[in-house]
Symmetry: C2
Subunit: 337 residues, 2 copies
């Protein structure tokens, strides 16, 4: 009972099961694959695989289906990332090149990815924390109302209306802006809090109060505390997968709506050498996703923001991983250029 063949059997099981959505038995296996041995031998191998917890039988006399652990093995040791078809590559280019602003780019990206994979696609907004300050603007709307605008090098713009403790003039505002700018321009957003408090402390006492309020707002705009938003597309794809199999759709939809959960999940995922990270079934500790898998990767200058797809554990990992990686790369290129 050779080790390599056993892995080969596992691969065959995973592939067939992903394709047919039905438990796969020893006989069907030898028919569809050139394994060079009889079904009885395969049965022995399968018994061993089951022993190791890589596959399982739904009931005594059905074929086997991969367990989460089996998929994990498949993803880590067996499968090779499948290259995209040229048509798919072309689709990525033509579809994404038309986008104009950041919102549009991300929107198109998720739609594209969900179509490519027939799954739910998710993308985090680029994390401001990893970006730097490009510009700060303070606009006087009324004697005590100021619009504070923070523009990051990612192209993301955040703004908010701030109410000052006392009236302020245009000149005051202009001076404060100068102070803030010289203290932070080009610096990483993560470093904003210290820099801003220092800058506020250096202000003339008369303007200290206003400066404190504004500095505070700018900090919040940087989004250090606030978890950022994400965009998703293709939820309808869940319905299809669900129809065939007991991926109960409710909890998944809840998880997707509870953006906090997804954000945490995505952020936690460390990508491996191949540049894609996979979470399978129970590896997602959040309850609603134990029958789902997530394939994600980072994008952008430092690959901190994540993009990925979510689908049933029974998914075509090689293709999905390829799609996620390709889209992420192209997205990075667009954002860089």
């Amino acid at each position: 009972m050779s080790e390599p063949r056993r892995l080969e059997v596992l691969r065959a099981i995973v592939e067939d099961y992903v394709h047919s959505r039905e438990p796969v038995g020893s006989k069907a296996l030898v028919e569809r694959h050139q394994l060079g041995v009889s079904s009885a031998t395969i049965r022995n191998d399968m018994a061993a695989l089951e022993e190791e917890g890589l596959i399982a039988a739904p009931h005594t006399s059905a074929g086997r289906i991969p367990t989460d652990k089996g998929y994990r093995m498949f993803v880590d040791r067996i499968s090779a990332v499948k290259p995209l078809s040229s048509a798919e590559r072309r689709a990525i280019h033509t579809f994404l090149d038309q986008a104009d602003d950041l919102d549009d780019v991300l929107d198109r990206t998720v739609r594209l990815l969900s179509q490519l994979t027939n799954q739910v696609a998710v993308v985090q907004y680029p994390q401001l924390g990893s970006a730097a300050v490009r510009h700060i603007e303070l606009v006087l709307l009324a004697p005590r109302q100021v619009l504070a605008v923070l523009i990051a090098t990612t192209g993301k713009v955040e703004q908010r209306v701030v109410t000052l403790p006392a009236d302020a003039g245009e000149e005051t505002l202009l001076r404060l802006r100068g102070i803030f700018l010289s203290a932070t321009k080009g610096k990483l957003l993560v470093t904003l809090p210290q820099r801003l408090t220092a800058a506020v402390a250096a202000c003339p006492p008369a303007e200290r109060a206003a400066a404190a309020v504004l500095g505070n707002s700018l900090e919040q705009l940087a989004g250090i505390n606030r978890e950022d938003r994400m965009v998703l597309a293709g939820t309808a794809n869940l319905a299809r997968s669900t129809g065939d199999f007991p991926l109960s759709i409710g909890p998944v939809l809840e998880a997707l709506e509870e953006q906090v959960v997804m954000m945490r999940l995505l952020t936690e995922m460390e990508q491996d050498a191949r540049g894609v990270s996979v979470r399978i079934g129970h590896e997602n500790r959040y309850g609603g996703l134990t029958e789902a898998s997530v394939v994600a990767t980072g994008y952008g200058p430092d690959e901190l923001a994540k993009i990925g797809v979510l689908g049933p554990t029974r998914m075509d990992y090689p293709t999905t991983m390829a799609a996620v990686r390709a889209v992420a790369r192209y997205l990075s290129r667009i954002l860089a250029g």
Copy 2:
């Protein structure tokens, strides 16, 4: 066979069916309601109602369920909008009063509404078209890059980065801002296009090109052409309803994701005297929603933007209508104050 009693029977059928999710028969009806007649009489009434197309029987020997037309009759002529419980009223206040900016208000509103109704809640962003210009700002990011910001009286802020045809200095920008502002400040957004082109024409020739580009961008920011966004919550509720009944979830999710469809649908809905508008089943001409009902109403100063919920045709209309109306009113009040 009295007319009023027949309506009473219809009401009873609708109420029981909404409650039990099962076809309701004549015997069960006389038991659960004080109708003062025997089941045989009810049977006669039911035959008449079926004749009129208000109810139907799934199969020969099952009870009756209301048809779309039956629900329509129920909503229009029989039901009274049910007042909310005081707990629910309180929930609305406490939950919405914590919100700060517009995004947050709308986000909280849909979440609340979806919880209140156990259905999918949808809200359009307030239409900028009905709002006026509060402020315009032009920020020089680089010699040829300008951030154009448009702030509406609704509190909504739109911004975009614009590339100029030629370099421009701070003074030029300041002057252009002044021209734009004096031409548009306080004016309705719908009137922006004419006002802006006039303002551009009045510019000194040297700055005409830059002004044209900027004016163009501001127009787009006003969102006249672009259909606006919407926010939704509670998609997971679909899963529950679907479980019990053949509201196939896929098409509905698609419709929700194709925001254009929902936007059109909501915008088309004209509210009646009671201040709520209802679309039932096949009245939604879009294919995916023929088994769904939409309850919506306008909100905001001119009630142009819409808020509503979407659920299976078998829904508790009186309660849902009450919730939608109450939330819309409170939302209007918040936006006004």
